[in-house]
């Protein structure tokens, strides 16, 4: 074999391997998704959403308590986390723009995005659960909010930075104070981007389990009281999957299917919005 043939052959080998790697990535995605669909679709009935759990081992029953709990926890986490995150991002991109201090917070927020979520759970346990003496939905919402804030801070900062400075100058020239410029000009210009950030952060926390295990804990019964232990989909999936009953496993798969679909749809929608917003200008 000549040197050239050898180089070509090695090239084909390398390129085929990289194609194979991409195929492997797609394979895992489809393997996992199809597995969740196959196992979960059978138990995806109206009863799953409408009924509370039957006693262990008894057929029937649903996961209404978990769906309601999950919605409540996520809703309140968003209620606290999003405004705080947007304000923080505004500070970094506007009032403190270009300052070393802002840069430090921005880097810290970036690091916080990847910090183990279970650590946040232990922190909230020490601060909100043990002093009160019981697990509560509020503690769960607080844990998720703490996970959301850095995500929202960073996307808000990035999106505000994308608004051209000249637009602010135009508003300044009309005599508007900075807060009016931010609220009426900058926020308006960055609204789609910020909304996407919020969608993605909701998607991010919806799948979180670890921080809920010792904050909102779990509840086998229906409860909408945020001051008490409350069921969540993810914690229930963990309990059901580890449990011994076949019905539990099936319902855990169905719940996994619902939550996976929810998150994938949010993620795809977020990406689509961003692409639509920032390509047709």
């Amino acid at each position: 074999m000549t040197g050239q043939q050898w180089r070509k052959l090695r090239g084909y080998g390398g390129l085929s391997l990289s194609t194979l790697a991409a195929a492997l990535g797609l394979f895992w995605l489809f393997f996992i998704l199809s597995d969740v669909v196959i196992h979960g679709i059978g138990a995806l009935t109206p009863e799953l959403f409408m009924k509370d759990p039957a006693p262990p081992g008894v057929a029937g029953g649903g996961m209404r308590n978990a769906f309601v709990g999950q919605l409540l926890i996520t809703f309140f986490a968003t209620l606290f986390g999003v405004p705080l995150g947007i304000l923080g991002g505004t500070f970094l991109a506007e009032y403190a723009r270009g300052k070393g201090f802002a840069r430090f917070i921005s880097i810290l927020a970036d690091i916080m995005v990847s910090v183990p979520s279970i650590v946040i759970g232990t922190f909230v346990y020490a601060v909100l659960v043990r002093p009160l003496g019981h697990f509560s939905g509020w503690a769960g919402a607080a844990a998720l909010a703490l996970i959301m804030i850095p995500v929202v801070v960073r996307t808000t900062e990035d999106m505000l930075t994308l608004v051209p400075w000249s637009q602010r100058e135009a508003a300044f020239a009309l005599g508007a104070p900075y807060y009016k410029v931010i609220i009426q000009v900058v926020y308006r210009g960055a609204a789609t981007g910020i909304l996407t950030g919020v969608l993605l952060s909701v998607a991010r926390v919806s799948g979180e389990t670890a921080p809920l295990l010792f904050t909102s804990f779990n509840n086998a019964y229906y409860s909408a009281d945020m001051g008490q232990p409350i069921a969540s989909l993810t914690a229930t999936i963990f309990q059901y999957a580890m449990g011994p009953f076949e019905e539990w496993h099936t319902q855990a798969w169905a719940a996994s299917l619902v939550i996976t679909l929810f998150i994938l749809i949010l993620t795809v929608a977020g990406r689509a919005i961003i692409r639509w917003r920032y390509s047709h200008r």
């Binding site: 180089r7 990289s18 969740v36 917070i105 810290l108 295990l213 993620t267």
Partner: protein, 348 residues
Amino acid sequence: MEEGGYIKPDRDDPGTGEATALPGPVLSRAEPRGLAAFFRRRSPVDVLFATLTGAAGVFIIVIVLGILGVLLSESVLSIEKFGPIGFIFSTEWNPVEELFGAATGLFGTAVTTVLALVFAIPVALGIAIFLSEVSPNFLKGPIGVAIELLAAIPSIVFGMWGLFTLAPIMADHVEPALQSVFGDIPVIGQLFAGTPMGIDLFTASVILSIMIVPFAASISRDAFNLTPALVKESAYGLGATKWEVIRDVILPHARLGVFGGIVLSLGRALGETMAVAFVLGNNHQITSSLFDGAASITVTLANEFTEADSDTYLSALFHLALILFVFSLVVLALAKYILLRAQRKERA
């Protein structure tokens, strides 16, 4: 605008657009600077809004310091009893006699993380090469999105899938096959000893590697895409094959970014909980075989935190959480530093 995209304001260039943003209203340029002047100059509402956003910004620092402080004060009991260093090296984990050490947890975390990286890095690099150089243009978008969707699947779903689907496959097919190939080789055979059950370090590492591939792949792809076309074309002009361009031009050019992505994935893998909680077995032991169960820090916390019935037990768990938090902060900060350096090098 990507990761940590930061624009150095340039006071001498009052240009427009994103690239040369000014650090504050232009009108204020000639006015006195400093905090007092800031308050005198602005309308009260503006000051209020600035303070509000400032408080929210500073809240990030408060969270980090708060977590550090609270975890530290909760660990005091364990630190006093077992010593800050002694705790790390003690393999004891005995709730009955209230003797605790982090060594078994650290062992599980270290083995699963390192093994996951070993599995994930080649695949992630392959995907990144495919997405930036090999794939036809119309496939780049969809495949890129599909890989990133893999990162969006919640970790608890990875865990369930691992327990009910992957673990049996591992136990019945993959692990016996590995055993028959490597089992008789001295030393290496030790790694594959024992009865393959599927609930072990090996399965946990495989799941973990699937979870971190998307992170490493997308950062590496971004790094590859930064290679200037001119440099690539020069190499092609000299008669290099596509593979030679990738290996000798693009990879060296992007190595800092790729390395940063790998360290970031390492940080992610350290703290992953639910995906491994199902398949690791929470077995506090240090073992030579990958086909044995083990316990990682995160899995210990997830399984035992609500069961801790004594102050020492709980404090030891907080101590574990503290070690994990500090360790991830260091690793993630390192990743951030490398990525920022890669970015700066790119801009220079």
